[in-house]
Amino acid sequence: MDTRFKAEMAEIFEIDESAIQPDMVLTADNWNSLAIVSTIALADDLYSVLLSGQALSKCKTLGDVTMLIAKEKDNP
């Protein structure tokens, strides 16, 4: 996970950056439609990847989100 992604995710979840880890359980931290909207915006801004809201809403952990981004980067 790169530094900017971590910092921005911490802002989205309004938690300390140290808590942003791949095994972080999203539903424990407000994984609501606003957080998903902000994550779509972040992935587009940082990686030029357009994520689907439905795919994101199925992610259980932050690691799932980074895997989804990697998958979209490989198969846009």
Partner: protein
């Protein structure tokens, strides 16, 4: 050829304002400043319970007539863009023809389209004028989404406001087109993503459709209320708007530096910020003006244009890219010389 031109504009906002302090009091964990940060909106104007979209459009048209050298008698076609008509039938445009004192020789139709509706209607107005079917078109917009919104659904109540607008589109003796190209698009797969499910004929309203439930994001609504899948709408906009933007530049032969202003549908502050960055448009040309109005659906583009120019053509003709996108999913773009 009588090329069509936007001659002047006016708008009307209902008097009542809903501010972020009031909303923050309803939504646990939210502050007024957080609502502004996430939406770009500080106030939304809200129609009275007995005030309809056609009332807002009527008042905008009255302002247009009082502030400009055009009279109801001059109008030979009325287009009214709304998705909240007064009745299933007749068309609200027919009611507005009578209320505004437009001639009986005037054509009048409703255009049922939302966030893309102003640009759609502009394309229709251009077609009517440039094919010789009309000379002075009164293009009205009006929407009152507030009437569909559950008070405890922050996903939409923080964003949408009510408004009406009026534009005069007239034939000119210009030797070059002043509106166009017009490019349209539709993806009906998005229909379920931004919808009021009941109240027409597919699903009637009854006691069960009025039951409000809480969703996974803590928002409360029933099937009778407006539903918006925010993430899907954002993905749709980030996918389609850049394509439309590139097509408009290609078809018009213009570059970003040739265009004075970019007036896009004012959907949300976040969405507009993202689009501006993605399209690499300088911020002084990319108009973001929803702080005091919210997202007023079909009225955002004409209200923004009217606020940008005072409703009158600027001293030097400005070249303006207009892009509308949203409910449908539907999108439309054009370039207007105003």
């Amino acid at each position: 050829m009588n090329y069509a031109k936007i001659k002047c504009l006016a708008y009307h906002l209902p008097a009542a304002r809903l501010d972020n302090d009031t909303l923050a009091g309803l939504y646990a964990g939210w502050t007024a400043e957080k609502i502004f940060e996430k939406t770009g909106v500080r106030y939304r104007h809200i129609a009275k319970s007995d005030e309809t979209a056609s009332d807002l459009a009527y008042l905008a048209a009255k302002s247009l007539f009082s502030e400009n050298p055009v009279q109801p008698d001059d109008i030979d076609f009325l287009l009214f863009c709304t998705q909240e008509p007064d009745y299933f039938l007749p068309s609200s445009a027919c009611i507005l023809q009578e209320r505004l004192g437009l001639p009986r020789s005037c054509g009048a139709i409703d255009v049922s389209q939302g966030c893309s509706g102003y640009v759609y209607s502009l394309g229709l107005a251009k077609g009517l004028i440039e094919s010789g079917q009309a000379n002075n078109i009164l293009l009205l917009t009006g929407d009152t989404y507030s009437k569909f919104i559950h008070p405890l659904d922050k996903s939409v109540r923080t964003l949408f406001g009510d408004a009406g607008s009026a534009s005069l589109i007239s034939a000119t003796d210009s030797k070059v087109p002043l509106i166009g190209p017009c490019i349209f698009g539709t993806d009906g797969r998005g229909a379920e993503r931004l919808i009021v499910r009941t109240g027409a004929f597919r699903n009637e309203r009854d006691d069960s459709s009025a039951v409000a439930l809480e969703d996974a994001s803590g928002n409360i609504r029933s099937h009778d209320n407006l539903y918006m899948d925010g993430p899907d709408v954002l993905t749709f906009c980030l996918r389609e708007v850049p394509r439309l933007f590139e097509s408009l530049l290609l078809r018009s032969g213009l570059e970003v530096s040739d265009i004075d202003f970019f007036v896009f549908h004012q959907g949300s502050g976040l969405m507009l910020d993202m689009l501006r960055k993605k399209l690499k448009v300088p911020s002084d040309k990319f108009i973001i003006d929803l702080e005091e109005t919210g997202n007023t659906v079909s009225s955002t583009i004409p209200v923004t244009l009217a606020r940008l120019t005072g409703g009158k053509p600027p001293e030097r003709t400005a070249t303006i890219m207009l892009i509308g996108f949203g409910v449908g999913y539907s999108w439309a773009g054009s370039i207007a010389r105003f």
